[in-house]
């Protein structure tokens, strides 16, 4: 029955989505509760707002820019920090057919691997593109990177769906200690980092090391090789069930090392699973963890070089982390309200990572998409395959790592604007009508506002249009897609 219902729903959704993609009918948009692209683009100024919002969203839509101008950036951020108060039923509607998102490992057991993976990838990018809870989705991405898991290993392909829901999404704006504990109990993580094979006779250090290096203290957080080995011993037996509810967390007493341990200078008495829980408490409360997380958040939202460019902010965020015992919202308030939104100078621009690039292109072009394969293929070519970053450090969050691979972005902007990506569609007729552009020059200005936050400089704009005209591109409906492709591929659109 379950399968039949699921298939029925998926078919229904596919039909609806196809119809919508083809017709892009306003009726569908109203049904989905989507805002229709506002008119009067000229009146939307606020370059500063645009720059800041591009760090808080997957690309600032016009309506978000309007709202932030009205209520102020601080007000906008506060709204986003209470995501559940924001009606996001339209996004729920878009992902409603993906049954696997709500299932336990046991329920997923009978599923096809490719279906489970496809639903997770689709749902994730749909939420990033369409959700009104943008800051929440940004933080979901942040923690997914921080606790990176590649679905290519073992049963992780189905366990990551559970991890995404119960570890990452459940705690993205909650408490860091809860998040760390949830991750340590997550079967996907335990398999990805081999802790299910961590045995008292010969401990497997993989998870213990990354738990300290990547998830909590940071590589210079003051631990030694001995601490790695002792923590691995504390975590012997933290494993995943193979029978009766396979894919659930289990503590396997038989393989747990019941000898005394010394971890980060603390004596750990033998008490089974409690040793690991105690170690997690130590890690969550450690000042190095506060510093590490604060630094990563400042890197994400403010600067590629957090210590050099905003060391004071890292320090304040780390203090907030410690004084609130890891309240993520409290730390974010410092980073965003005291930091980003209040800065008199914005530090050097950040190069968009591929996911941000793709999502922002779809968002600002008001594209209609079902989030399926074509987008994920493009992301792989750009270097950020969805849920397949192979190493536990997650995709880098610094500009220099991504600079050298422009061509896949250019290819994507051309395909997107020419409506050559499968299941993704830009309604040019509608877009041109809403823009109200009367001539190519006005169109260029408006697209500049839409995509880059301000009109193009006049000389550059006229040169571009003359170039188009000389090669026979004269009609508005032909100019618009190529112009948009050029702007999406331009240096400015690569930055956030």
């Amino acid at each position: 029955m379950r399968v039949t219902r699921r298939e029925f729903l998926r078919l229904a959704a596919l039909t609806a989505a196809t119809a919508a993609v083809q017709a892009c009918s306003p009726v569908y948009r109203q049904l989905a509760g989507d805002p229709i692209l506002p008119a009067g683009w000229h009146s939307i100024s606020g370059n500063w707002t645009f720059s800041v919002l591009n760090r808080l969203t997957f690309g600032a839509r016009l309506e978000e820019r309007q709202l932030a101008e009205q209520i102020g950036l601080a007000g906008w951020i506060e709204e986003q920090l209470s995501p559940n108060a924001l009606d996001d039923s339209a996004t729920d509607w878009r992902v409603r057919a993906f049954d696997s998102l709500h299932m336990t490992a046991d329920e997923l057991d009978g599923w096809e691997k490719r279906d489970v993976i496809a639903e997770l990838k689709q749902a994730t990018i749909l939420r990033q593109v369409y959700s009104k809870r943008q800051l929440y989705e940004i933080m979901v991405e942040f923690w997914s990177d921080h606790f990176n898991i590649a679905i290519t290993k073992g049963l992780v392909w189905m366990l990551k769906t559970v991890d995404d829901r119960e570890v990452i999404r459940a705690n993205a704006l909650g408490n860091f200690g809860d998040l760390l504990r949830a991750s340590a109990h997550s079967p996907a993580m335990l398999i990805y980092l081999d802790n299910q094979a961590n045995h008292k006779d010969h401990p497997n250090e993989n998870y213990a090391r990354e738990l300290m290096e990547l998830h909590s203290l940071g590589v210079d957080g003051g631990y030694t090789q001995e601490d790695v080995m002792e923590l691995a011993r504390c975590l012997t037996g933290w494993s995943v069930k193979k029978h009766f509810w396979p894919g659930e967390f289990t503590f396997n007493t038989d393989v747990h090392d019941m000898n005394e341990k010394v971890f980060l200078g603390r004596d750990i008495r033998p008490e089974g699973i409690g040793e690991g829980e105690f170690a997690l408490e130590i890690l969550a409360a450690h000042p190095s963890t506060a510093q590490h997380i604060a630094q990563k958040l400042v890197r994400r939202f403010v600067s590629d070089q957090p210590m050099e460019e905003a060391g004071w902010l890292v320090e304040r965020a780390a203090n907030a982390f410690q004084s609130t015992n890891g309240d993520i919202q409290a730390v974010l308030r410092v980073v965003l309200l005291d930091g980003l939104a209040a800065m008199s100078e914005i530090p050097s621009p950040k190069f968009k990572r591929p996911l941000h690039y793709v999502a922002s292109a779809l968002r600002l072009m008001n594209a209609e998409s079902d989030g399926s394969l074509a987008l994920h293929e493009a992301l792989s070519l750009m270097g950020q395959p969805s849920f397949q970053w192979p190493t536990p450090d997650g995709p880098p969050d610094t500009s220099s790592a991504w600079l050298g691979n422009l061509l896949p972005r250019w290819q994507f902007s051309l395909e997107l604007t020419q409506n050559q990506l499968a299941k993704t569609y830009i309604d040019w007729e509608n877009l041109l009508a809403i823009s109200g552009a009367q001539d190519p020059a006005e169109l260029a200005d408006l697209l500049g506002v839409l995509l880059l936050g301000s009109p193009l400089p006049e000389t550059g704009r006229d040169d571009l249009l003359r170039d188009f005209e000389s090669s026979g591109v004269k009609e508005m409906n032909e100019i618009a897609p190529i112009l948009a492709a050029g702007l999406l591929a331009s240096p400015n659109f690569q930055y956030r």
Partner: protein, 420 residues
């Protein structure tokens, strides 16, 4: 890029979109012309085995009892171990070391003297962290203090070959590795065959023209954009889909094999390639590593078959080519309980080319017995990886400026390679 922009500057930068359609299509690579021209030297291919490859099971010290004691299930049987099938035994090289049987395809280049192994080789870093070790190794440093750029990036920056090619340095894959990052822009390329703009031809042409006016060679990204356009032009003239390897060389169908095949094509096409990097991942074998079959054997075969095909295909070019294979560190001597190995210290490097001191195991062997191990039970490092890289740069690429490439390390020359 490291400069702090004021808010005003940032906004200006954000608003300062396209001017100057007037720029010519071909812009000189960098605005400053080098004063002298350095010799071009060998083409350098750097292969990074990501995840810390287990050197001890690749080039096996079969003369060591201690190796077999430490690895009751994972050890590669001795060449004369009659209990193991012939194709499961180490391939003897010198009576003490032997190749993993999955490396059989490399024997011809070894016997020809064009393949050398530097064993017990590695970095001083003891973090046993993949990410820290890789970062330091790619930056060519002993610790975090020092330039943020990569060692190859700095080599390119101080070695003025006056080579205007946009293909001077490429990273095969979807990202430019840290080793290649620096003042000279390098390009990441996943596939040469797919390196073009698709779709409607007129739109693509128009788009390409727009890119010329939007990417101005006045900042880092602008230069990279220009590079991308130049590579599009260069590759348009080649016909990569029609490439036929020489000497019946057969590359593995893997991403690694395809990558090497593309590098070979660029070498033969003489498009100005000086350095190419290529990654092969998956070596973090904590779990179910396998001995002569399984996870690691597959990786070893992929590596070996790719390298041997590359060697055969470019046999006539080996006199002006050097391949380096490296990994961030080696693995613990003692196997763990999950049929794998944990992070260790010393590893190995490989050198391939017409001028390497091949057919021998180079570097001092520290042993893996009691009292010979390093830290928690790891192979010691007797040769710093920068001694190898430094000698390659100096002798084969004609770059003597090793102090600016490895600022916190003094390179010693061991005779791993010959000069012309």
């Amino acid at each position: 890029m490291n400069k702090i922009l004021t808010r005003k500057e940032f906004l200006q930068a954000a608003a300062a979109v396209p001017y100057a359609i007037r720029w010519p299509a071909w812009i000189p690579r960098l605005s400053f012309a080098p004063e002298k021209t350095d010799p071009k030297g060998d083409v350098l291919v750097v292969i990074f085995l990501r995840g810390a490859a287990d050197a001890l099971n690749m080039v096996v010290p079969h003369g060591e009892q201690a190796y077999y004691r430490a690895r009751p299930t994972l050890a590669i049987p001795r060449p004369d171990d009659s209990r193991a099938a012939l194709n499961q035994r180490a391939l003897d090289l010198d009576g003490f070391f032997g190749f993993h049987p999955g490396m059989a395809s490399l024997l011809p280049s070894w016997q020809e003297g064009q393949l050398a192994i530097i064993h017990a080789c590695g970095a001083p870093d003891e973090s046993r962290s993949h990410f820290k070790a890789m970062e330091l190794m790619e930056r060519g440093l002993s610790d975090e203090h020092g330039p943020a750029s990569g060692w190859i990036g700095r080599h390119l920056a101080v070695h003025h070959t006056n080579n205007p090619s946009p293909l001077r340095a490429i990273g095969l894959g979807s990202m430019v590795p840290l080793s290649l990052q620096g003042p000279v822009p390098a390009t990441a390329m996943q596939s040469i065959v797919d390196f073009h703009l698709g779709g409607d031809e007129r739109a693509a042409r128009q788009f390409q023209s727009a890119m010329h006016s939007l990417y101005l060679p006045s900042d880092e990204l602008g230069i990279i954009g220009r590079e991308t356009l130049n590579i599009l032009d260069t590759l348009e003239k080649l016909d990569p889909s029609d490439y036929q390897p020489a000497n019946q060389a057969t590359y593995p169908q893997s991403e690694f094999g395809v990558g090497l095949r593309q590098i070979a094509m660029l070498v033969k096409a003489q498009v100005g390639l000086e350095v190419a990097t290529l990654d092969l991942g998956g070596w973090d074998t904590h779990f179910a590593q396998g001995s002569t079959s399984g996870l690691m054997t597959g990786l070893i075969q992929n590596l070996s078959e790719g390298l041997s095909a590359f060697h055969a295909d470019l046999h006539d070019h080996m006199g002006s080519l050097t391949v380096v294979v490296m990994s961030e560190f080696g693995r613990r001597v003692q196997e763990n309980a999950s049929l794998g190995t944990d992070h260790g210290h010393g590893g190995l490097m490989m050198l391939m080319g017409g001028n390497v001191s091949g057919g021998q195991i180079l570097g001092a062997w520290p042993g893996v017995g009691d009292g010979q191990l390093f830290g928690p039970g790891d192979l010691a490092v007797t040769t710093d990886y920068r001694d190898v890289l430094g000698e390659v740069l100096k002798k084969r690429l004609g770059n003597p400026n090793l102090d600016s490439i490895f600022p916190d390390f003094r390179v010693r020359t061991h005779g791993f390679l010959q000069e012309n």
